[in-house]
């Protein structure tokens, strides 16, 4: 069976400097793959190349065995691929509920229903479930821009799941989230993975978070994969320790 996501010999250079230098890996349905590495190791560039927001210099990305090079982010969304960003991304002037409806509505109905159909696109129940699941009920009608950083982060993650994606690329979901919220976020991601059969690729600097969430971890340094394996093996890998400590 073809891997859900397959990256083959991906390279990306900026003015002769290689940010991603021939990275290959596969992600199978149901996995939670962690992608870690020191700052500047090419993790976010790799995400952007996978999602078509940067054109790779060479190499290939496949979904279900099918090349997706040149596809627009909105087309990838329709293939069931979602993402969150390293920096917070919400629609600040819209309410929490409207942010969630927006995140799911592009999969529903045609042009006519977008103009004259129900404004919730039949997604109110799904939005309510997501609001309850991420414990945002008290804030549902608040402007997203008025929420705390941690609450906006939860909303950001919740939005990524509104359209029922098969694969979600999470870019530092734990960044800036307080420890109490972090535990809840990890449990929710695990629950979605188990019950919703979503597959995740997670970039994260918080080692405790990534080690307790992911089933497999890839380590990038200077644009190359230097280690791959189960969390416990990665924790004790000499090459990984050297890459992080610079020894």
């Amino acid at each position: 069976m073809a891997a859900l996501l397959e990256v083959r010999e991906l390279r990306k250079s900026f003015g002769g400097i290689g940010a991603v230098n021939g990275v290959s890996f596969a992600v199978h349905a149901g996995e939670i793959l962690g992608l870690i590495g020191p700052n500047g190791s090419g993790k976010s560039t790799l995400f952007n190349c996978i999602l078509g927001q940067l054109a790779p210099s060479s190499g290939e990305v496949r979904i279900d065995g099918r090349p997706i090079g040149g596809m627009r982010p909105c087309d990838l969304n329709r293939l069931g691929i979602g993402r969150t960003f390293q920096l917070l991304q919400v629609f600040p002037q819209l309410s929490v509920r409207e942010n969630l409806l927006l995140a799911g509505q592009e999969h529903e109905g045609g042009m006519w229903s977008r103009l004259f159909g129900p404004r919730d696109a039949g997604l109110s129940a799904a939005a309510n479930r997501m609001i309850d699941f991420f414990r945002l009920a008290a804030l549902a009608e608040e402007r997203a821009g008025a929420l705390s950083y941690g609450q906006q982060k939860l909303l950001d993650v919740a939005m990524a799941f509104m359209a029922g994606p098969r694969l979600v690329l999470l870019d530092e979901p734990a960044g800036g989230v307080n420890p109490t919220m972090l535990g809840g976020l990890r449990e929710r991601l695990k629950a979605i993975n188990e019950t919703g059969r979503s597959t995740f690729v997670v970039i994260e600097h918080n080692m405790e978070f990534v080690m307790s969430l992911c089933t497999r971890i890839l380590v990038l340094a200077e644009g190359r994969i230097i280690a791959e394996g189960a969390p416990e093996a990665i924790r004790n890998d000499r090459a990984v320790i050297e890459a992080y400590l610079g020894t």
Binding site: P73, N77, F85, V90, Q93, H107, S113, R114, R119, A121
Partner: protein, 267 residues
């Protein structure tokens, strides 16, 4: 204002955009032999094509990637081109423009009220209500708001950002055509019409708040009322300076406009 919010387009030819559709209608009647209603329809369609689609494709898209300033200069050049083009190829003198409604006056509680002015107020109010409903009450409108607030996220969520921006340009073209058809019977179709209209609209938007539709409406009302009070009770000679005084005062005291929101922008 709509164009700014969805595509960071500042259009200094907006006044000329209001001037031009009236000439599309007159040209359709004069050269195409169309009746006035048919010419209005043709003028509206040509406005959508030229001031919406072609403006976006041929002016905004090639220039905006070089920054806002080149686009500002380009739209100033476009304004001059439109104005001089109409003067050169259609007429340098004011042209009568037919009214689609009665041009009589009504006596209301001892006051004389022009039917034309009432029609303008009614159509403008309807247009604003329809625009507000579209933006706030439909999924497409919500997608347009999302595009204006965070285009990168909108793309990732599957919103066709390019199409949403195109809709904004088409709505802008439709609104300027409507404005042109409303004011031209009163002010006549003149190649210079855009100068005053563009300046007043720009000042009204800044005074009211550049990021709020209701702000621009409030700004326009305030300018109109102040302008007429100054002309009636102070001096008609200074009425043209009043919008500029108001503009300076707002920029100094409340830069976001009377009803505008403070926005943070990453630079």
């Amino acid at each position: 204002m709509l164009l700014w919010q969805t595509s960071q387009t500042i259009n200094f030819a907006q006044g000329e955009f209001v001037m031009l559709p009236a000439f599309f209608v007159l040209a359709a009647m004069k050269f195409g032999g169309l009746s006035f209603p048919m010419a209005m329809l043709a003028g509206f369609a040509v406005s959508l094509l030229v001031l919406g689609l072609l403006f976006k494709r041929l002016v905004v898209e090639p220039v905006i990637r070089h920054g806002v300033l080149p686009l500002v200069i380009s739209t100033i050049a476009l304004a001059i081109l439109m104005k001089e083009g109409v003067k050169e190829f259609y007429a340098a003198d004011a042209q009568p423009f037919p009214a689609a409604w009665a041009t009589t006056n009504l006596q209301v509680a001892g006051m004389v009220v022009s039917v034309q002015n009432l029609v303008i107020i009614a159509v403008a109010a309807l247009a604003v209500a329809a625009l507000q409903y579209f933006l706030a009450g439909t999924r497409t409108g919500r997608s347009m708001q999302a595009t204006a607030q965070n285009p990168a996220l909108a793309r990732v969520l599957g919103i066709p950002v390019g199409r949403m921006v195109l809709y904004t340009f088409l709505i802008n073209a439709g609104l300027v055509a409507l404005a042109s058809f409303l004011v031209s019977p009163i002010y006549l179709a003149k190649f210079t019409n855009g100068e005053t209209l563009g300046l007043v609209a720009f000042v009204a938007a800044i005074v009211g708040g550049f990021n709020q539709v209701r702000g621009a409406i409030a700004g326009g009302l305030l300018l109109g009322v102040v302008d007429n009070f100054v002309a009636a009770y102070l001096s008609a000679q200074y009425r043209a300076a009043i919008p500029l005084f108001l503009l300076i005062a707002v920029i100094l005291l409340r830069p976001q406009g009377l009803l505008g929101r403070v926005e943070e922008r990453t630079v």
